[in-house]
Each structure stands twice: as structure tokens, then as C-alpha cells.
Amino acid sequence: MTLAVFFGCTFIAFGPALGLCLFTVVRDPLRIIILIAGAFFWLVSLLLSSLVWFIAVKASDPGDEPLQKGLLIFGVLFSVLLQEAFRFLYYKLLRKAIEGLVALSEDGCSPISIQQMAYVAGLGFGLMSGAFSMINLLADALGPGTVGIHGDSQLYFLTSAFMTMVMIFLHTFWGILFFHGCETQRWWEMVAVIFTHLIVSGSTFWNPLYVGSLVPSYLLMFATAAWAYVLSGGCTRNLLRSLQGQQSETSPQPGS
């Protein structure tokens, strides 16, 4: 494990997210606050789910392996559900905040729209989730050791980095979808978010069979990306134009 592994995994896991931050979040103080508050909400959800898991583990027999495995599965599922619940709570809070901002603004409209808030909130959730998954690994990657010397996979760091990246992206898109579902009262969008989150977390149970976890996660990520893009008002024509480096003639419709 060398500096190359450390930097490589850091940039794989956090590079895109930091790019997103740098280009879209850092300029606006309000977005930075929403980002950090999103991270805080994710943290609180993790705290509560850890509490539940901890109590369950302490109340059970530590030697019973299948039971511990079952409790872990339960812990993961409960954590996913709690994260989405906190996403909903955060949506409620941001709705109230928008009303406050509108009331206090000079021209009657909020300086930031709910769609932008959805994106930043999702990014906040994702960054915190990624950080908690990855930072300890990165710190260990700086130290001495050999990956997989006891027979585990040698690709542990690399796959963790890729998994972290896809989770950050997924959280961002889930944020957009979820908030859109809440805004327009389309409950199936929220259910879809919860469902895909459960699928992605469940697919990680295939690790170290990385094909079983990374491939579905990336496919789901692209699907949710396309869905979030469409919901935010994008269309394929604009996408093609931007890929070809041309300006689009019509600006995208604002998200519904």
C-alpha cells in the first residue's frame, strides 16, 4: 500500500463529487450550508440506526454467527430506511426554509430553488456517506500492509473506492428524485428511491463477488441519473448539443 494507492483511491472515490462541489456548491454560501446540513442529517440517521443495531447486538448472543449475520442484515436494512426517512425530514425542513427565504427576500422569490436544494442535499448525504465509508480505509492505505494476504480479495481498496463513488452519485440522484416526488406528490418516485437504495445496499452483500455488487449499482446509477436529468428538465437534444460543444438554442425547461 503506497501513496499511489492512497491518492488513486481518494480521487476515484471523491474526485467527481469534489468536482461537483467545486463547480456548483462552493460559490454560494447558502448551498454550502445546505450541503453541511445534509451531511448532518445523514449523520443523525446513521447514529440512530447504529444505536438500534448496537442494542440488538448487545442483547443477543455474540457467539451465534447466523444470528449476528441476521442482525447485520437487519441493521443495514433499517439504516437504509432511516436514511430515507431523514431525507424526507430534511425535505420538510428545506420546504420551511424556502418559505422563510421567500418571505425575507426582496423580490418575492427564493434565492435558491427546491430543485437546487434537492441536488445539494443529495450531494451532502452522498459525501457524508462516502466519507464515512472511505476515510478510514484511506488512512489505512497510507500505512504498511498487504491487501488480501489472508485470502481476501486483493482489490479491496479499489472496489471500495468505486463503490463509494457510485454511492455518492446515487445519493445525489436519489435526492433529486425524492424531492421531486415529494413536491409533486408522486409517491412512486419516493418508493422507487427507497427500493433502489435497498437493492444497492443489498447487492453489496455479494461482495467480494464484485460483479454482483458493482455492476448492478452502476447500472442503477446510470438509470437514476437519466431519470433525474429528465426530471430536472433536461432533454436528449440538449445533452447531445452539450456533448458536441454547441450552445443549446432553447434553455431547458425548469423542473416541474
Binding site: 453541511i36 449523520l43 447504529s50 444505536l51 447485520l72 441493521g75 427576500s105 464515512f132 452483500f205 467480494p208
Partner: protein, 459 residues
């Protein structure tokens, strides 16, 4: 005791008069807000809108009362516009405080994680005489509580002493004391810090270069902090001395005592700032009565500095901040004769409560609308995060959780500041969140995340 304070806008004439920050300004020079002032008529229409929506009308009344009563409607209109602008600018000021707090924490955490000196146990401060090396848990808890009581009493005594000195206008005494204290911090602690960093990275440096570097660093620091200097340089120096103080606390406070002291300090801060007979509140009110600024040297200011041009008035105020530092110096001199295990401890024994001085922030009349945060707040935030980094069994998640918790607490404090518009303690909310998240992340989240990581599961 750390108080954050939000100014209403000031014009330049107001700056020279050193009115307190509670005045409202209706003058065009307040066009320092780049977003432009609206016409008063438009502002007036918003007055009614705000009256209907907002619940924070009372501060504007107070503000309106202070300014000249000639044109009350316009004052209120401007006030309400300022309220909007306050909230609209509130986000910017929150970020202006996030950045230095983050930088201070980064410096402290980086040092703690790399320089082993600051995590080694090498004695304790005289303010925490009870050792925690006892075998029983109850005894250890008792010792840490006793340590906390002693520390807080010292802080209370120092603060009251400071308030008394300020009331009786012993400015020269305070002034000299504070200069001695910052001299010690800028030269001695920097020398120790630099020595330890060089030792860690095995870099050789001759005494001549060392003298040159430390002399320049310290001299420029003294000038920037106590006199005039570029804003960013002054801010950088304040961040650095806060980090140095925090590192000293992290090194010399025993484990459990540190946590209990953090909790007790936030309670003390709450009482001292909000109670009518609290020393800090009395200090703030005295300063307001006399129309003097207090302690620009030990307050971090985020806005464009008018204090740069206000050396004369600042001298009086700076003298106040320096006093507490010097009282720590006096204590050191008295105890200097006792035997020390290492020479480094002697310096460490003095600094202890800088918070009384730092707690005296606020009131920045001369500034354009800006937020000020006391250096004690920086120090205690960094102590919390640094302790989390030092003692959380090598876990970075705990450090990160405490960091986010403190930032959110700061955000909430600033929100309350925007609503109440008076001096508020900055420690309680952040330290409470920080403590809650430290203990819960260390004990609950860490096993969960470790188990998940060992199976490479993602939630």
C-alpha cells in the same frame, strides 16, 4: 463565554463615533452591501410584509430607538431591509466563520495526527492538579470533576477581575498584561511547535535560521494583532494562535477532565453571557455605555476591518484582552521556582484561561456588518475536535462527525444571532452537539461501521 455578535450596518461616520452595534443606519454609506440598497419606499413596503411574516420585529424596534428619531419610518424600513439583508447576508457570514473554524481545526487535527508530542502525557497544568492515573473509575471521575471545578473557578475569578479592572479603567495594567501574553504565545509556543514539527520530520535547522524565522513570525504577529495589518494576515495569525492554544490544552488536560471541562465551559458561557449579573454581560454593557470597542485583539472578525484605521481607540480595548493573558503570566512567575520535569511544562502552565478575555468579544461597532467570534470559541472547538482525533482509537469518523456537529452548532448559533441580534454565547450549542456526537460515534457508530467495512457492506 464566547459570544458571537452581529452588527447592524454602520456608516463610516458611525465608525468614528464608535457607537455600539445596536444602532441602525439609514445612511447611504451603508451601500457597502454590494447588492445595493433599495429605495426607502420599496423598503417600507417590505416593512409591512415583514411585520406580517417575521417574528423578529423587536430587534428592529430596539435599533430604531437608538438611531436618531427624526425619521422613524425610514429607520424601521431600513431596519427591516437590514433584517432581510441580515438573513440574506447571514449565509455569507456563516461561511465567513466556517472557513476559519475549519482551518483552525484542520491545523489542530493535522498536528495531532502527525506530531506525537501533543498526544504524549507530560504532566499537567497547575489548574488541573488532580491526576487521573487512579485505578478506580469513581476516583477518576471524582478527580476530573474536581479539576473542572478548579479550572472553572480560576476562569470565573479571572473574568471577574478583568471586569473589575475594566470598570475602574486600569487600562495600562490590562494593556501591558495582554501584550506580555501574546508575546508568550507568539514566540514561545511557536518555538516549541516548530521544534516539535522539525523533530517529527527529522529536519535540521540551525539556531540562526530559527531565530530569524521566529522573530519575523512573532514580530509581524504582534503588529498584526495589536496594531494594524492586512485583514487576512490578522485572521491567519488569530487562527494560528488559537490552534497553538488548543494544542496546549489537548496536551496538558487529562482525558476525562478535558471532556468535563468542555461541558462546564459551555454552561459557564451560557450563564456568563445571558444572565443579567453575568460578568461578560456586564462587561459588554459597560463597554457599550462608554462607547468603547472591546478586545479587537482577541476577537476574530470576518468582515472588512475598520479597526485597522482605529488604532487609538483599539489600544484601550486591546489592553483589556491582554490582561487575562498576563494574569496567566503572573501565575507562571510565581510557580516558576518549582521543579519541572521538562522545561516545556513551565510554559504550558501559564496560558490556562484565555477564555475570560476571549469571552469578551462582541461589540464591533466600527465594523461594517460582520460577525465576530471570540478566539476562545476557536480554541474550544479545536480542543474538542483535536481530542476526538487524539483519543478516538485511530478513527477518523469520529473526528469528522465532531467537525460536522460543531459547524452545524455554529450555524444554529448564528441563526439565533440573526433572530435575537444581541451578544450570544457561541459555545453551548456547538459543544453540546460535538460532545454528543463524539461519544455516540465513538461507542455506537464505530462498531457498526467497522463491522460493515469488514464485510464490505454499504448502507
Amino acid at each position: 463565554m464566547m459570544i458571537t455578535f452581529m452588527n447592524s450596518s454602520d456608516s463610516e461616520e458611525e465608525a468614528c463615533n464608535e457607537r455600539t452595534s445596536l444602532i441602525s443606519v439609514e445612511s447611504p454609506p451603508a451601500a457597502s452591501y454590494q447588492d445595493g440598497l433599495q429605495a426607502p419606499e420599496a423598503a417600507e413596503t417590505q416593512t409591512y410584509r415583514k411585520r406580517r411574516t417575521g417574528g423578529s420585529c423587536s430587534p428592529s424596534d430596539a435599533d430604531g430607538g437608538n438611531s436618531d428619531s427624526g425619521i422613524p419610518v425610514r429607520d424601521i424600513a431600513v431596519d427591516n431591509k437590514e433584517e432581510e439583508l441580515t438573513l440574506k447576508y447571514g449565509a455569507k457570514h456563516v461561511i465567513m466563520l466556517f472557513v476559519p473554524v475549519t482551518l483552525c481545526m484542520i491545523v489542530v487535527v493535522a498536528t495531532i495526527k502527525s506530531v506525537r508530542f501533543y498526544t504524549e502525557k507530560n504532566g499537567q497544568l497547575i489548574y488541573t492538579p488532580f491526576s487521573e492515573d487512579t485505578p478506580s473509575v469513581g476516583q477518576r471521575l471524582l478527580n476530573s470533576v474536581l479539576n473542572t471545578i478548579i479550572m472553572i473557578s480560576v476562569i470565573i475569578v479571572m473574568t471577574v477581575f478583568l471586569v473589575v479592572l475594566y470598570k475602574y479603567r486600569c487600562y495600562k495594567f490590562i494593556h501591558g498584561w495582554l501584550i506580555l501574553s501574546s508575546l508568550m504565545l507568539l514566540f514561545l509556543f511557536t518555538y516549541i511547535y516548530l521544534g516539535e514539527v522539525l523533530k517529527t520530520y527529522n529536519v535540521a535547522m540551525d539556531y540562526l535560521t530559527l531565530f530569524f524565522v521566529i522573530w519575523n513570525f512573532g514580530a509581524v504577529g504582534m503588529i498584526c494583532i495589536h496594531w494594524k495589518g492586512p485583514l487576512h494576515l490578522q485572521q491567519a495569525y488569530l487562527i494560528m494562535i488559537s490552534a497553538l492554544m488548543a494544542l496546549v490544552f489537548i496536551k496538558y488536560l487529562p482525558e476525562w477532565s478535558a471532556w468535563v471541562i468542555l461541558g462546564a465551559i459551555s454552561i459557564y458561557d451560557l450563564i456568563a453571557v445571558l444572565c443579567p449579573r453575568g460578568p461578560l454581560r456586564m462587561l459588554v454593557e459597560t463597554a457599550q455605555e462608554r462607547n468603547e470597542p472591546i478586545f479587537p485583539a482577541l476577537i476574530y472578525s470576518s468582515a472588512m476591518v475598520w479597526t485597522v484605521g482605529m488604532a487609538k481607540q483599539d489600544a484601550a480595548s486591546r489592553s483589556l484582552t491582554q490582561q487575562t493573558w498576563d494574569s496567566a503570566e503572573d501565575v507562571r512567575e510565581i510557580h516558576d521556582n518549582s521543579a519541572y520535569v521538562e522545561s516545556e511544562i513551565s510554559e504550558a502552565r501559564s496560558p490556562a484561561p484565555t477564555h475570560p478575555a476571549t469571552s469578551l468579544l462582541e461589540d464591533l461597532e466600527e465594523e461594517e456588518r460582520g460577525v465576530k467570534l471570540g478566539l476562545g470559541d476557536f480554541i474550544f472547538y479545536s480542543v474538542l475536535v483535536g481530542k476526538a482525533a487524539a483519543t478516538a482509537s485511530g478513527d477518523w469518523n469520529t473526528t469528522l462527525a465532531c467537525f460536522v456537529a460543531i459547524l452545524i452548532g455554529l450555524c444554529l448559533t448564528l441563526l439565533l444571532l440573526a433572530v435575537f441580534k444581541k451578544a450570544l454565547p457561541a459555545l453551548p450549542i456547538s459543544i453540546t452537539f460535538g460532545l454528543v456526537f463524539y461519544f455516540s460515534t465513538d461507542n455506537l457508530v464505530r462498531p457498526f461501521m467497522d463491522t460493515l467495512a469488514s464485510h464490505q457492506l454499504y448502507i
